[in-house]
């Protein structure tokens, strides 16, 4: 065995793609179907589910149905966006449902005349959003400063937050009426419901935040390696508090939407179990539960997928037991398509 020919020095310094095999990476990647599918698993699953509906669900492809599904999905999307950010830091926010309840209850408390409120609607909404954000701030402080593991911190909030919401309304559901609610429910822009536009807007904002801002950068760094981030000068506490605050804010937005649609604040049931739906949406959308990777568009697709799945099973009139089993299998399948590559084997 002897020395092979020596490449020139320039070829080895590789910031710019040199004419070595390394440069062919992009080209080959394009031909790597497994990877292509993997990275788009959630969209693929979504397309399949839509096709199933087109065939099987009566009146699926009508404007009214699509509008309805858009509205129903919006709240799930909004909550999932906040969850995606939290999960990006390697945490989890189990309290989103309770936060929705707090926002709904605060709004009811301020606005509903029957509860001695009677404040202007705008004020009630603003205060409710602030309250939701505050719930998030408390979560963030407990996690970042109190050094409590996120799952426990937000679990305590899940229990306590709903209790708080119930205290605000005296335990009962509060019915509310205002013309603005009707506007929220029915307004459309370009035939797309305003509520859905809001969800999309928030998703775009979040996508920009994640990709383009220092804050987004830091979220991913914290989720990827917290001790390393700290040593790299990331203001960990501030960032974490911010992340949970965003999650709280978005949950509050969702809580108010649900309330306005229902014409009632229902602190015991609003957002019940939505935390699991949201986490599933985030993970099915391709983000890592361990943190360090946030896929905003994937999260939106994940949320749509899950809500559509539920709608499909309902529309198909599938019994609850079977529906649960099917739902489980489909979630497994959606994640299975995009499971991590084994090419590193």
């Amino acid at each position: 065995m002897s020395t092979t020919t020596t490449p020139t020095t320039d070829e080895r310094t590789t910031a710019a793609p040199p004419p070595t095999p390394w440069s062919s990476r992009i080209g080959v990647r394009g031909g790597d179907w497994g990877r292509w599918v993997r990275e788009r698993g959630v969209y693929l699953a979504l397309v399949v589910l839509v096709l199933v509906n087109v065939v099987a669900t009566p009146n699926f492809l009508t404007l009214g149905t699509l509008q309805l599904y858009a509205v129903q999905t919006a709240t799930v999307i909004i909550v999932s966006l906040g969850m995606a950010l939290v999960i990006g830091t390697g945490g989890v926010d189990l309290s989103v449902g309770a936060t929705m309840a707090v926002a709904a209850a605060v709004m009811a408390r301020l606005f509903s005349p029957s509860d001695g409120g009677g404040s202007p609607l705008a004020l009630a909404i603003v205060v409710a959003l602030v309250a939701g954000t505050l719930v998030g701030v408390v979560n963030g402080l407990v996690v970042a400063v109190g050094r409590v593991q996120p799952i426990v911190a937000t679990l305590a909030m899940l229990v306590g937050g709903r209790g708080l919401a119930l205290v605000f309304t005296g335990g009962a559901l509060v019915e509310m009426f205002h013309p603005f609610f009707t506007t929220v429910r029915t307004a459309q822009v370009l035939t797309i419901p305003a509520i859905f536009w809001l969800a999309i807007l928030l998703a775009v904002v979040l996508a920009v935040v994640v990709r383009r801002t220092a804050f987004g950068f830091r979220v991913l760094a914290i989720g990827g390696n917290l001790p390393a981030s700290r040593l790299a000068g990331v203001p960990v506490r501030r960032t974490l508090v911010g992340v949970y605050a965003v999650s709280g804010f978005l949950a509050a937005v969702a809580g108010l939407i649900v309330t306005m649609r229902l014409r009632a604040a229902d602190p015991s049931y609003v957002g019940l179990n939505i935390e699991l739906t949201a986490i599933t949406a985030v993970v099915v959308g391709g983000s890592l539960l361990t943190g360090g990777k946030v896929r905003v568009l994937g999260t939106v697709a994940g949320a749509v997928l899950i809500q559509l799945l539920e709608n499909t099973l309902t529309a198909q009139n599938v019994t609850d037991s079977i529906a649960r089993i099917i739902e489980a299998l489909i979630i497994i399948a959606a994640v299975f398509i995009q499971r991590p590559s084994r090419s590193a084997r």
């Binding site: 910031a15 990476r25 080209g27 801002t213 991913l220 390393a228």
Partner: protein, 541 residues
């Protein structure tokens, strides 16, 4: 399980026996990019085979292909004549191939003894025989020169000790092939010696050893055969005796030998520091209970101050404390004469104090982020406008440093976890250097870096120092500290033994200081921490 050596080979002679492990035409691509192509090797019993090459040359990939971590795209591996098809490292291990992978942390939360026997536990009636595990592991470690209480958690010990535990696992695994991927990267000269000694013992037992290192001294000290990899290709295999350092480096780099400076260290600071200038960094009387005891480090512009000491002497903790990453009981850190009050890395970075952490895996890289994002992380405050990151500037910075440090990757978007160990280290360096810090705290900066890049890094540091930067340098290569420092602070058990300046700095002087202190202490020492408490501790865990 170790096959008795059929023929005892003398170093330097061509072995005539069949190879213990025969590698033929191995190749592997990641996402279509070849990491290794057509590599063939023979590992002979009783012979030590070195793998050398630049960062990213494919050494670790080759090892992982041989031991079932990756499955090869092409080629075969024969173990004792039989073709292998290892589905996992476990099956390779059970087949008699013991491996120390590059930078694999064991289980830091378990005791040393439990780590030592992990996967191979001693049991009685299904229950772990903790007593025997403790004594036997202590014995093996003792033979490697490490005397630790094996009942303590591994994570309590420094990286060096952890690395030695991994070595001890491998050498006592009763294997006929032992593979070591950069085993000495976090070891002190003392431990390196005992490791090389252990390698010689393995060799005498007829074991085929694969030895990867960027430290050519070690390669020449212990290896019989050397294989050079470059860009995934095997460029040379031959007897150690038939080559020399300069030739080897030229093969690794693919450059003419005449261009090279013998692959040896260049002096970090070739110029006299501005002694009368006011110090940039004044860290005085740093103390923290049980960790640091009145340590002071003062650095003037352009000066390089080395920290020396044995494993666990508190060097890393000193720089981490200066950097604000560890709390401080008393003491003060001043930069440019202004005291830094908040103990937080972020505030240090704002004052242009930067730290390269020792443990790059745990405290350095963000594995799932791209090279670009990893480099840009610390610089965020400087490249952010109204919260938005200035992508163009970031890309520029990244480009410059990837070229400057020769980071080998498919591009700035490649995720860092896919890089070779040395290239990860370079990414971290880039993260700090792009800040243009005033004070640079370097904990093992050249660890795992190949000879070419090492010179590059050292040059860069010298250049920055010349611009007035203050450098604190920790290196397990005493040589690097001695040659590169204008003064050296010697530590032991978190206390400052003394400071050597200028011409007084030498390896002997440092070792004398340490040894002197050790003797003094031994004379005055009370009873060492005793056994019974240890048993109680273990039982309670």
């Amino acid at each position: 399980m170790a096959a008795p050596p059929t023929v005892t080979t003398t170093p330097g002679t061509t072995p005539t026996t069949t190879p213990t492990l025969a590698v033929r035409h191995l190749g592997k691509s990641f996402a279509g990019v070849a990491a290794l192509e057509d590599v063939s090797l023979d590992l002979m019993p009783g012979s030590v085979h070195a793998l050398v090459g630049e960062n990213g040359a494919g050494k670790s990939t080759l090892i992982k292909l041989m031991t079932g971590v990756y499955t090869a795209d092409t080629g075969t591996v024969r173990h004792r004549g039989e073709e292998t098809a290892y589905s996992s490292p476990r099956s390779a291990q059970q087949d008699g191939i013991a491996t120390i992978y590059q930078e694999v942390h064991l289980a830091p939360q378990l005791s040393v003894a439990r780590n030592f026997f992990l996967g191979n536990e001693l049991t009685r009636w299904g229950r772990l025989d903790l007593a025997r595990m403790a004594t036997e592991s202590a014995a093996v470690l003792g033979r490697l020169g490490i005397t630790v209480d094996t009942r303590r958690r591994l994570g309590e010990f420094s990286l060096g000790v952890q690395q030695m535990v991994a070595v001890a696992r491998a050498v006592s695994a009763d294997a006929d092939v032992v593979i070591m991927d950069e085993p000495t990267s976090s070891l002190e000269p003392k431990e390196v010696d005992s490791l090389l000694q252990a390698v010689r013992v393995l060799k005498d037992d007829g074991v085929a050893v694969v030895y990867v290192s960027h430290k050519l001294d070690e390669v020449f000290a212990v290896c019989d055969t050397i294989t050079v990899l470059r860009d995934g290709h095997l460029v040379w295999t031959g007897e150690t005796a038939s080559t020399n350092r300069r030739e080897l480096v030229s093969r690794m780099l693919g450059r003419d030998a005449s261009e090279l400076t013998d692959g040896r260290l260049t002096r970090l600071s070739g110029r006299a520091p501005v002694v009368d200038a006011p110090p940039v960094l004044e860290a005085t009387h740093l103390s923290r209970r049980l960790v640091l005891d009145d340590v002071s480090v003062v650095v003037r512009p352009g000066e390089v101050v080395g920290l020396a000491g044995l494993l666990g002497s508190g060097r890393s903790e000193t720089v981490k404390t200066i950097f604000g990453a560890l709390p401080l009981d008393s003491g003060e850190v001043k930069v440019d004469g202004r005291p830094l009050t908040r103990q937080s890395p972020a505030s240090r970075l704002r004052r242009k104090v930067a730290l390269l952490p020792e443990d790059r895996k745990a405290e350095g890289i963000i594995p799932d982020l791209s090279i670009r994002d990893n480099i840009g992380l610390a610089a965020l405050p400087h490249i952010t406008r109204a919260g938005f990151v200035d992508d163009r500037r970031l890309d520029e910075i990244v480009e410059v440093f990837m070229r400057r440090l020769r980071i080998k990757a498919s591009g700035p978007q490649q995720v860092v976890s896919e890089l070779s160990g040395g290239n990860q280290q370079k990414v971290l360096l880039a993260r700090l250097l792009c800040l243009e810090p005033k004070v640079l705290l370097l904990d093992e900066p050249t660890r795992g870096i190949d000879v070419g890049a090492k010179a590059e890094v050292q040059e860069l540091i010298a250049e920055l120092a010349a611009k007035g930067m203050a450098v604190v340098l920790i290196s397990s290569e005493l040589e690097e500290v001695v040659e590169g420092s204008d003064s050296v602070v010697v530590l032991r058990d978190g206390a400052q033994l003394g400071t050597l300046v200028g011409a007084d700095i030498s390896e002997d002087a440092i070792m004398d200081l340490i040894a002197g202190a050790a003797e003094q202490e031994q004379a005055a020492a009370a009873e060492p921490a005793a056994g019974p408490t240890d048993h109680a501790r273990e039982a309670a865990s």
